[in-house]
């Protein structure tokens, strides 16, 4: 009943084959590893200098999402990233990297600052998702995520996004709309956590592993589906095994992506970014004759 392209058939075959079964769950675990490097770990290694941009100029400073002016290979950039926190006190302060609307408002402010000065924007995506609390909702969590996505769409400066841990739902996407989107080998990126998916579709959060196999939050799947532009390698065993080496690999990838994004005019870049996301999605065409069905 639905006619699909060769490309879709190829994708279906790949996912039906259920290759890399073990790798899927390993990625989920590595992406959430307690020692996995966070945004600040990379910032320390990638930037020769930095000044933190704090506050949303409206309500608070959300430490789950940090922003900074930073010097990257001799040029100034605006860096934005989720920050989970290393020990319990820092994790609590940073809400485990789950931003409130104030965090996204800070991100928008940072993008606007980059735009005023023509500085490229680099983002580091690592969040279980936006914080799902009453106060966050009351202060407009949904609308602020939408406005953050819009700010990234509107930016005419180069934007390079890197998924470095958990790319959790709208809370991640809010700072992940870029000219180039990179994803570390063991990072995950998905519309919902495996646990959340399992709780809803399997009616049992314990089926997270099964859900992860079904919906494939892996870098490989994201690349195949055209959602990310490149996979960034990690040291053997995961980024936490050698943070300096992980940073070098990420640095190389960002530097190349940035050079690509900088190679076109601002207007072309903005149009191309929008066009890239416009192409995302896979669909077929209703076919009354029943030919070439799923």
């Amino acid at each position: 009943m639905v006619r699909v392209s060769d490309e879709v058939r190829r994708l279906r075959k790949r996912f039906e084959a259920r290759a890399e079964e073990s790798h899927v769950w390993e990625s989920v675990q590595l992406a959430r590893h307690a020692d996995r490097p966070y945004t600040l770990d990379y910032a320390e290694r990638l930037f020769s200098d930095a000044f933190e941009l704090r506050g949303d100029r409206a309500f608070s400073d959300d430490e789950a999402l940090i922003a900074m002016l930073a010097r990257y290979h001799g040029q100034t950039v605006v860096a934005i990233g989720h920050q989970k926190g290393r020990d319990l006190a820092e994790r609590t302060r940073r809400m485990f990297g789950m931003p409130h609307p104030e965090g996204y408002r800070k991100a928008i402010r940072a993008v606007e600052l980059a735009e005023r000065f023509g500085y490229p924007v680099l983002t580091f995506v690592d969040t279980p998702g936006a914080y799902p609390g009453v106060n966050a909702e009351e202060r407009g969590q949904a609308g602020m995520i939408a406005r953050s996505i819009l700010a990234f769409c509107q930016a005419s400066v180069p934007v390079v996004c890197s998924v470095i841990g958990e790319g959790g739902s709208g809370g991640a996407l809010a700072i992940a709309v870029g000219d180039r989107v990179l994803m570390q080998e063991n990072a995950i990126y998905s519309v919902i956590s495996p646990e959340g998916c399992a709780a809803i579709l399997w009616k049992d959060a314990g089926q997270a592993r099964k859900a992860a196999y079904a919906f494939r939050p892996t870098a490989g799947a994201c690349l195949d589906l055209g959602v990310v532009d490149a996979i960034v390698g990690e040291p053997k065993g995961g980024a936490h095994e050698d943070v300096d080496q992980a940073a070098r690999l990420l640095d190389q990838a960002i530097r190349q992506a940035l050079a690509e994004a900088e190679s076109v005019s601002a207007a072309e870049r903005r149009a191309a970014r929008r066009a890239k996301f416009r192409r995302m999605g896979v669909w077929g065409v209703a076919d009354e004759d029943g030919a070439d069905t799923l």
């Binding site: 009351e138 995520i145 739902s169 996407l173 919906f215 995302m280």
Partner: protein
């Protein structure tokens, strides 16, 4: 964390254990024949409860008869992940299409509203909980394209439990894709009016639906990123009965107005007038700008009664 979920919740007390007939008012227990309810725009005559409205019926409510032209009709979900949970995604799609007669949870097109042309995108909660996947994203963009190409306003009516998990990351990307379409409208100065029906949650409210130049909600609609159950289960916080409801959202600055369904078409007509190009007026008179003759408004009198003078008082509250 699971802020995006398909099976959205109803408010406490709304849902009795066991089944309830869809035409029985959950609020006052009045029961209606389907044609009765349809004629009343699916608003309870006794208590004003707003029942859900399917996409095609919603189009009938707001678009002038015979003017709607659908676009993107043949688009269908293609299940690239070959997704299977308790049931295959393709089975769920088939069931949804059979139940609703729709190809996906959003119907796009163009038409006229009280005489003025507009692009239209209307969602249907009955199709897999109004979940947003690739087809919805593309159809929304096609409606935006039509608005852009013809320089006419875009009107959307949303009802969604969030993103469609069966398409995972591609579903998430529809948020960026649809926001990009809104960005194009903004750049071109094409108006976008977003109407939020019960429930509009998850990825839909966190993308295009929140970005209308004007954002209007139906009374008592649940409008939140995470639903109250997710909030309570994840954070241990209690949610108040009015958590995420349209009236709370108005108070909290997220909406321009809460408009009862019976007044919705009139409000849209007012907005389409306000967004229409300037006209020379005759010699200093300040009378209302003329509207097409014979224009009527569902559930109300002639248009000029509604559009005659400033109606700020009515919308406050």
């Amino acid at each position: 964390m699971a802020p995006v979920e398909v099976d959205v919740e109803r408010p406490k007390g709304d849902d009795e254990p066991g089944r309830r007939h869809p035409n029985t008012c959950p609020s006052c227990r009045s029961h209606y024949r389907d044609d009765e309810l349809r004629h009343a725009l699916r608003v309870c005559a006794q208590c004003g409860h707003h029942f859900p409205v399917g996409a095609l019926e919603r189009i009938d409510q707001i678009v002038d008869p015979g003017t709607f032209e659908e676009i993107g009709t043949d688009l269908r979900a293609a299940d690239p992940l070959a997704f299977v949970d308790l049931r295959p995604y393709t089975d769920r799609l088939l069931d949804a299409e059979l139940a609703t007669g729709l190809g996906d949870a959003l119907v796009a097109g163009t038409g006229r509203v009280v005489g003025r042309p507009a692009a239209i995108a209307v969602m249907d909660f009955a199709f897999m909980g109004g979940s947003m996947g690739s087809v919805m994203g593309e159809r929304f963009c096609l409606a935006a394209d039509a608005a852009l190409a013809r320089g006419i306003p875009l009107i959307s009516v949303t009802a969604s439990g969030g993103a469609r998990m069966q398409e995972n990351i591609l579903a998430l990307m529809q948020m960026a894709k649809t926001v990009g379409a809104v960005d194009q409208l903004r750049e071109a100065g094409v108006p976008y009016v977003s109407i939020l029906a019960h429930p509009t949650t998850g990825g839909v409210i966190a993308s295009f639906a929140s970005l209308g130049d004007i954002v209007i909600a139906e009374p008592n609609a649940l409008l939140s990123f995470a639903g109250p159950r997710v909030v309570e289960q994840t954070t241990g916080e209690k949610t108040a009965p009015d958590f995420g409801r349209a009236e709370s959202n108005l108070r909290l600055g997220q909406l321009d107005a809460v408009v009862p369904r019976r007044e919705l078409r009139a409000e849209l007509a007012r907005l389409l007038l306000l967004f229409s190009p300037a006209e020379d007026e005759p010699t200093g008179d300040q009378g209302p700008v003329p509207l097409p003759e014979d224009a009527t408004i569902a559930g109300e009198g002639p248009v000029d009664r509604v559009l005659g003078r400033l109606g700020l008082g009515r919308r406050r509250g």
